[in-house]
Amino acid sequence: MKQAAIDTKDVRATSGPPVLRAEGLSKSYGPITVLTDVTLDIRAGEVHAIIGENGAGKSTLMKLLSGHAAPSGGTMKMAGAQVAFSDAVQAEDAGIVLVHQEILLAPDLSVAQNLFLGRELSRFFAVDDKRMNRRTAEVLARVGCTARPWSRVGDLPLAQRQLVQIARALLDDRKVIILDEPTAMLANDEVDALLDIVRSLRAQGVAVLYISHRLEEVEALADRVTVLRDGKMIGTWPAADLDQRQMAELMVGRELSMLYPPKREPVEAEPALMVEDLSVDHGAIRGTFSVKPGEVLGIGGMIGAGRTEMMEGLMGLRPAQAGAVRVNGKTINKPDVGTMMAAGVVYLTEDRKGKGLLLNEGLGPNLILQALDMINPGLRLDRKKELAATRETVKEYDIRIRSLSIQAGQLSGGNQQKLLLAKVMQANPSVVIIDEPTRGIDIGNKSQIYRFIDDLVRAGKACIVISSELPELVGLSDRVLVMRAGRFAAELTGTDITEQNVVYAAASSGNDTKGRKRA
């Protein structure tokens, strides 16, 4: 996978002194224990990968190490001396910085303002914007982010925001840098750039804690691997001793079956969804496409190619006009989420925190929000049905929780994704558009989601999958459309669907997402 990223594996001595040592760390939220007795040491100049299933407690452990949460038990030592961080700032002062799995930036501030928040540079009494912008531009360039230092963060695409977060961690010299799923929102080029950065950090003697569900990255990068399962530590191994399959099995605690289901036979049918000359954001994005029942249509392209915008436009979530939209032969005049859903088309957003889930609501309200009218024919809300649907979903989608009264925001990232998927499926759609289906999903659950999509399509439904993860796109799709700069650049079918072809089509006329016209 991620071909470009994987070169010869650099095996390194991992006997440096521990810069940070956790002893018997545990964490509970009220009666719920999410982490028990984790002992771990992190050495200077190593890349230490933490892997585990969704909800295993990886992010929680990282929050403890970086002062974002206080442990319920256990101790931490730096260079032999016991430390306790009362907040993230203390940890940062001690040289430990965490890049969150979720985006944590102030949307109203500029990139540079976010990067330097809390430690602004100043001259006399005034902040020195020039210098901060200059330094921001430098780090942004280093992580391969094309955003400008003065762009408002709230206006940036998710991937760019992720890079900004990483850039923030690189601004000062650190002893320990923790990256919690930094690549989940990135596509190939950015991932490569990031891996290079991690390697150079290691070369400078920085300890990097690295969390990823992309095991190929772990294999390519890590010196040691620690596996967590159900909040417990399974063990730490030199990365050289494990291959991807072994890692996966250690995480899941059982043998894994095939990742991708076998491809289906091509079907002959009228398209389930037909979109003619859709024009989004005043023509910045245009395209015609259709998908048949029993087909998975993959949409590839680089970040910023306009895939998300195209689908949001189709659903009436941003200004758009279409020549024609037909669902199962029926013409839809003015598409919006409601009418599209009634016609059988649903869209699963890539921004699960901002646009997908009500983070401070429980599972039930989130689950049934979209399909309220279908689940409840009258005006009344049937809470029994809601509860039943919630229980059903927790089981069917294997959402790992310890109490049904948990809030969506308290779920681990991967479990949030599953809840979101379950939410759009409540509407019982015939066409499902999924933007980044497995963002932040562990390997065991990935195959589960793939199987889920396969079942769906075999049951005669149609599926559009937008994915920046090439193996996924290739492994799932019956047909792939590749977008470049707001237009469809290529259509691949059958054996033409390969990672190389997608990459080539996505980038062929140069790396020019910048040239894209915006209104």
């Binding site: 919006d336 409601g338 869209y347 901002g354 929000l369 809300l381 509860l387």
Partner: protein, 331 residues
Amino acid sequence: MSSAEIASLPESEGFKIRWGDLAPFIALGVIILLGTMINSNFMSANNLLNVITRSAFIAIIGVGATFVIATGGLDLSIGSMLAFVVGIMIMAMNALAPALGPWAIPAGAVVALVVGSLCGLLNGLIVTVGRIEPFIVTLGTMGIFRALITYMTDGGSLSIDRSLRSAYRPLYFGDFLGVPYPVIITLVIALLGAFILYRTKYGRRVTAVGSNSDVARFSGVHVGGVRTMAFVIQGFCVAVAAICYVPRLGAATPTTGQLWELQVITAVVIGGTLLRGGKAHIWGTVAGALILEVIANVMVLSDMVSEYLVAAVQGAIIIIAMLAHRFTSSR
């Protein structure tokens, strides 16, 4: 996780009553206790009935305000809107009285409900279609309604026809099995509000919109519609309060309902509804209205503060009550 484990997960329902949600009721209890200690007359049936009956207005309007605030809105026009609706209702009743006799009262009430809902609709449409901050919109309509009632009363007062007065009076002063009608009406409105908020699809959408309007939009919720409807509910509740209000003094004046908006919003917030939206407590609002009314009552009954300082003590008590319930209920 095995399915056996899932089945054994605790029921979510039984879990819903949280300590924090009880805070306004506890605060109410404490203030009542205080009142009892300060003046022995406080606990007299008569005094309690007076206070509870009086709180009906703020409570009824508060139910509507809970909807608006839960969607992330705010309505500053409610006090003036009340005055305007009262004015229109009295004019309608007076005009209909010669023809309909006492039936002019229900007819006027219907007029009030329609006018109130329309006023709410106006607010809602300007906010959603015009996409202007509710604060500004309702500050504007506050001025408009207030000016209209001043105009309608010529700056003086507009009283209900004598012939209707005695037939209408019992709606405020009468009771059913000892429970004053305004209290019954408050209960009905609060029950209805709670039903809509907690037991209907619309209620779900209200909290969804208030909690994250983008998520709601992406889930196919018609955000503008939900918001507008909340303002309409608010207008309807104002009209119900107006219907209970007229039999009490029988007149509209330019000062009718002045500054009630602040009282209503305070009641809603004391009740545990978040001003930024997404969380709504109908019964908390009712408790909040009672708290305000009881504090005012206790202030008059107690002999301790100079008349100049009543407002200060009242303000301080509200802050202290909030502080107390913050520090008792915070984990």
